[in-house]
């Protein structure tokens, strides 16, 4: 037993060889923040170019590389690893397990990520430039007309897919096998539930993405014609395969965010989550529906009317379980003893802005009107409302909520609230005007635009700089907390917090739950 109680190893080897879920979670979180800054920098280049009409700062080819890398880095480098980091830190502590089920694989699934993104970023300095075909890399742009660096891009996607699959297998194996005695499925915290379902989605669709890039690789280098009409293939096939992965992918991004919000809103409402069971069923329904709606991303590709109708109605159906969730969160707050600490502010911001993004999603789901919105800034506004205000806001909430438990120190509340309000204003200033320019016909992914869009674009750019700057404040607040924050010693950092992670000492020791906790059979989950 004695050997098990040692603390972390010293120096760099601690991080290289660690199999501790908390260490790995920490590395995931820092890595994803670094990627968030990198992807944010690409976004700043985009917004700087669009500050005024006409060509200002960068060449169109470089602009295309920026939009492509911004999307790829944010989706695969920032948002997904950040939630994997959160899962590593929290799932074992929430279900009363000593660690993840497969600690060595856990180490691998993290450590193959940084070299992969280094490789992807290095394409910027290659001859012909970085991939410039958009994060959706439609063939033939990404095959026949791709820069030579596309092969490095394909390899990166393969490796990060492998990392995601290993991470999800680990999460499923942990949740299915390592719950403390008495922790039945319907007693798990909702964050664990949403991650379990997310992990199943990842195992199902990351191989499809790998298949799509493998077909690209074969078309480019081995003379096949999956996506080339000349050899009997069809470029439209690419879009079907990509979105068969791509639509579940958007729920992979948002479901863990739903889980975070479902943990935090009850804590600051001092009430149990309203409708726990319906939350679980709604999450599962969303996951199922995500597999049968992919073609709503490609209404304009020339589908039969019956197909358009099917995908339109199936897409609208998703509003039902999503609505259940939104109403449950609102009802949880109803008549609660509310306080508005920074995590709660970010959750309420999430709730308001994600709902707006949901409504614009419904507008886009209507096939006949989508022909007007397709590939316009309206789409850009829509998915930033669900990705940024959905995933990034909830991730910020999660960091503020659990940071005191992780490092045993309290962040600066005033600075946290300032971060929230600057983010909230900056975000809306950036993306709300994009609804208008999109409806008026401004296409996405173009470095120049017609004069009538100038004012709204300038507002967007100013908002983006404000939002970007607010993240520096966030970084400063987190570092200041770790270095010199006010120590907290209560196990339960927040008065209303519920769950096993709040029963361990603060800061969370290196090893927790080496003997599983007893779960009160009558205990109602938070």
């Amino acid at each position: 037993m004695g050997d098990h109680h040692h603390g972390p190893a010293k120096g760099l080897s601690r991080w290289l060889f660690t199999t501790n879920h908390k260490d790995i979670g920490t590395m995931y979180l820092w890595f994803s923040f670094a990627m968030f800054i990198l992807g944010g920098f690409f976004a700043m280049v985009i917004r700087a170019e669009l500050f005024q009409p006409g060509m200002q700062l960068v060449e169109p080819a470089f602009f295309n590389q920026m939009t492509t890398l911004h999307g790829l880095v944010m989706v695969f480098g920032a948002i997904m690893p950040s939630f994997v980091g959160l899962a590593n830190w929290l799932i074992p502590m929430m279900i009363g397990a000593p660690d993840m089920a497969l600690p060595r694989m856990n180490n691998w699934s993290f450590w193959i990520l940084p070299p992969t993104f280094l490789l992807l970023a290095s394409t910027l300095f290659m001859e012909g430039g970085a991939p410039a075909f958009g994060w959706t890399f439609y063939a033939p742009l990404s095959t026949t007309y791709a820069p030579p660096s596309v092969t490095f891009f394909i390899f990166s996607v393969h490796v990060l897919g492998l990392s995601s699959i290993m991470g999800s297998i680990n999460i499923i194996a942990t949740v299915m096998n390592m719950r403390a005695p008495g922790m039945t499925y319907m007693k798990m915290p909702l964050f664990v539930w949403t991650w379990l379902i997310t992990a199943f989605l990842l195992v199902a669709v990351m191989p499809v993405l790998a298949g799509a890039v493998t077909m690209m690789l074969m078309d480019i280098h081995f003379g096949t014609s999956f996506f080339s009409a000349a050899g009997g293939g069809d470029p439209v096939l690419f879009q079907h395969v990509f979105w068969f992965f791509g639509h579940p992918e958007v729920y992979i991004i948002i479901l863990p965010a739903f889980g975070v919000v479902s943990q935090i809103i009850p804590a600051f409402s001092r009430k149990p989550l309203f409708g726990y069971d319906s939350m679980v069923y709604a999450t599962a329904s969303i996951a199922f529906l995500s597999f049968i709606v992919w073609a709503h991303h490609m209404y304009t590709v020339g589908m039969p009317v019956a197909g358009e109708l099917f995908f339109m109605y199936a897409t609208m159906l998703i509003a039902v379980p999503t609505g259940v969730k939104v109403f449950n969160w609102v009802t949880t707050m109803w008549r609660g003893a509310l306080t508005f600490e920074t995590p709660m502010l970010f959750c309420i911001g999430f709730l308001v802005l994600f709902t707006i993004g949901g409504f614009t999603g419904l507008m886009l789901s209507i096939a006949p009107s989508d022909f007007q919105y397709h590939d316009s800034y309206f789409v850009v506004a829509h998915f930033h409302y669900v990705m940024v205000a959905g995933a990034v806001f909830s991730m910020s909430a999660a960091v503020y909520y659990w940071l005191p438990k992780w490092c045993g120190k309290m962040y600066n509340e005033a600075m946290g609230k300032t971060h929230f309000w600057i983010s909230f204003i900056g975000f809306n200033l950036t993306f709300f005007p994009q609804h208008f320019v999109g409806l008026a016909g401004m296409p996405r992914r173009i470095p120049d635009y017609a004069l009538q869009f100038a004012d709204f674009n300038m507002m967007s750019s100013i908002g983006a700089f404000i939002y970007g700057a607010s993240q520096i404040l966030f970084l400063y607040n987190v570092i200041a907390t770790i270095v010199a924050g006010k120590p907290v010693s209560d196990d339960k950092v927040w008065e209303g917090a519920e769950g096993l992670e709040w029963t361990v000492p603060t800061p969370a020791p290196y090893h927790t739950f080496e003997t599983p906790p007893r779960i009160d059979p009558d205990h109602v989950h938070s």
């Binding site: 297998i169 299915m176 669709v205 191989p207 039969p304």
Partner: protein, 186 residues
């Protein structure tokens, strides 16, 4: 059942790895063929059959005429001169019709081309039968030479009556690199 491993998580891992591998295979074994089958069956994208049609039509519907238009396009970077001998024909459903497309390779080297057909309106694709078509095969041409490429087709008698014009479009692709082995064999 005796567990091979002491760690029960290993069973879960084996199942999940199987799912991941199966999903990878699913893309190639199911999605790609299914897409092609569905497009052929439903005539999506104006795809016409890649095989010669064996005539089973009895009689010719003299009561109506359908205009068939021919369009030819060169894919980017394809230097051939390529076009139909007539741009439009009036035909009776059920009748067998012949026409030719001209192609000339202006470059001094031998090349191989592939023509890909598409029918508009897409609804008409399944009623447009080709009994003989240059598009069924790749077309090799020596440098600075020309050829006539035949097309024989039947418009199905079941063609919906509201369709009075069918446009048959060919895009010609340079497949010399892909077919280099095949050229050597000829």
């Amino acid at each position: 059942m005796i567990r091979v491993s002491a760690n029960p998580a290993i069973d879960t891992v084996i199942k999940l790895v199987t799912v991941a591998v199966a999903m990878f295979a699913f893309v190639f074994v199911v999605m790609v063929p299914l897409y092609n089958v569905l497009c052929d069956a439903l005539g999506i994208n104006g795809k016409t059959s890649g095989q010669a049609y064996t005539a089973v039509q009895a009689g010719v519907d003299e009561s109506r005429e359908v205009t068939v238009q021919f369009v030819a396009t060169n894919n980017e970077g394809m230097p051939w001169e390529f076009g139909p001998s007539t741009t439009a024909m009036k035909v009776h459903p059920g009748a067998v019709n012949d026409t030719v497309f001209h192609a000339r390779n202006p470059l001094p080297r031998a090349m191989v081309a592939q023509a890909i057909p598409s029918v508009s309106p897409a609804r008409a694709a399944e009623y447009f039968h080709k009994t003989e078509c240059f598009c069924f095969n790749q077309q090799p041409l020596d440098g600075e030479s020309a050829a006539e490429m035949p097309l024989q087709f039947i418009v199905d008698q079941d063609l919906p009556r509201d369709i009075r014009t069918i446009t048959l479009s060919y895009t010609i692709f340079d497949v010399t690199d892909m077919a280099s082995g095949a050229v050597a064999a000829r």
